[in-house]
Symmetry: C2
Amino acid sequence: MYNIIYSQGGVCASAGFFANGISAGLKPDGAKDMAFIYSESECNVASVFTTNKMVAAPIKHFYSMGDFKTNFVLINSKNANAMTGNVGVGDINEILSNIQGAQNPIMSSTGVIGVRLPKEKIIEGIKLFDYTLRDSNSAAHAIMTTDKFSKECAFKIKLDDDSVFNIGAIAKGAGMINPAMATMLCFITTDANVPKCEMQEILDEVTKTTFNAISVDGDTSTNDTVLLLSNSKSEAYEKEAFKEALFKVMHFLALEMVRDGEGATKLVTYKVSGAKDDREAEIAAKALSDSLLVKTALFGEDPNWGRIASTIGASGVESNEESLKISFDNFCVYDKGELFFDVEMEKKCAIVMQHKKFTISCDLGMGDGSFKAYGCDLGHEYVKINADYRT
Amino acid sequence: MYNIIYSQGGVCASAGFFANGISAGLKPDGAKDMAFIYSESECNVASVFTTNKMVAAPIKHFYSMGDFKTNFVLINSKNANAMTGNVGVGDINEILSNIQGAQNPIMSSTGVIGVRLPKEKIIEGIKLFDYTLRDSNSAAHAIMTTDKFSKECAFKIKLDDDSVFNIGAIAKGAGMINPAMATMLCFITTDANVPKCEMQEILDEVTKTTFNAISVDGDTSTNDTVLLLSNSKSEAYEKEAFKEALFKVMHFLALEMVRDGEGATKLVTYKVSGAKDDREAEIAAKALSDSLLVKTALFGEDPNWGRIASTIGASGVESNEESLKISFDNFCVYDKGELFFDVEMEKKCAIVMQHKKFTISCDLGMGDGSFKAYGCDLGHEYVKINADYRT
């Protein structure tokens, strides 16, 4: 058995990790726009990147390094270094050669597409880094774009033999995914003694039910990145404990991203069960969290169960009206052809929808497949941010 | 050779067809809410219905009739008769038994989901029909939901031997597709002597590049319906002429639907070429017309080509930044890694985007596949309509 305890310090909660954010003048008004994460000993790396075919230069650069250990991640906001071709990759190499003592440094960027990095400003910015600082929160601030709040968390894991390891992370999301201005980025550190061969497998598995289960606008950016850095400073490790703690970190940050979705006022869990298999449950749950009509109904606090049913039907998964069951939190509005949606029920559901968090459950009645997706509403603020963001 | 001439009269432009809309009290304030299309001789029928698994009762009723000829279509707005199970199909049978002289009548509905049809009102409404009227426009008005204007058109086709046939249609779209309040419906009549065996094939083919190429919000309703009724009153027919005229009718009405999309202010053509094949071109073009980020950029009149590139990349089709070319009307902003997007070009493109109609062209540089999709922008009005529609 093991104990997972909430702790402070973000990426610096793990032993041997340092981080800080500074202003290099990429953002206006002296806002922080560059950050580093540094480990005093080398790290194994696991990664999940965007499935977008127009991958940004930082991801191409990462892939070009093959199998490697690293002790340094450089992150900038305001410029995504995407659609910049080989020139963009060359810029990264030039920038990273300016970091002394960095071993196979990784670069990660978020911001506008199709503009070359302001190399000089970034190289000047690197000189401002203080590698003795453990200020995860200032790093979390530096990587924000349209985010309204910074995102970090950490857990301490105590194993049965009283040995201890830590996992911490910072992330940014907001637009989630606004490919021109934002991007989903998450950097996770751990001092757990996790075997290199298990890191990628665990990260892939946990990503499925966390970052790959959330949606703000259904788009996939050119720069989406999740990096897991492990320096094995602690000798403690247990696979199940590590996996559960990693899930807690990534689940928390994924929901923070949805909560901070552009213009979002509600965080909704779409719990699909009874699908033919888990894959079909995932398709249906994500169709709900991506549907414009469902999102605007949420914003209007309208318990419009017909849109839920229609969206499931439109998603193409095996389903029919004779087997479907729909609930808003604990209130069942439709059960296999029987309609419980009268004026009284409508009032009850409308009250549920006034909450900041609630669950819409759909049992398809077809099999044992299940999936939980997380989404938000879409209101005037989203339109405003995305129509006007460059002005 | 042949001549396709724009004409008047909508569905009644075809010889032997009658139509009218009346108010049965389903909509408030005496607005028209029921319509019929009647042919004095029996018609062959071709049809395209929604791919939504939660098909509405009228579609189930249609399928239950097997192979048949008809002379009557009854249409109501305000209630979709969807998610109403066998009871909903029973209601249709009961209603249709009240239409005297109707041979295998078809019913079609649009409106709110999950509420039984107001049978009595509809049966009373049927008594108000005058089967001697040829008022296509009042029928077009009666089938509207959130549409801002009625939609109809007709063409007269003159063949080389001076023989003549007609095609006419009415349609409604608006929400396109708002499964709770609207739906895409289109009813096409023709007096052409089209062989029954060719009707379905031609309708399927033309649907692909017209109604299946448009998008307002990417949703698919429970009730989407295209019906083609042919009474062969004219002896004239030529396959290519018929197909081209049918394309003109459906293309015109499809673009009218986009133009009338909820809150839409712009009609944008997404012309994708150079895809691996036509299927991939279609996927990319539809991804563009469905993307929230592209739609809001259009609304903001922001020539944000990075979102175009990213959306193509996210759609999963074969593409890369070294082969891609993007233009706004005639202005090329990005060509295989070369960026022509400076301040001057940004101004030119912003002017293009102020137009009510323009084209965004993307050459993927991968092969010969091409497709044109049509979409609109998404602004505050869409959010307002869809968040508040039931109040």
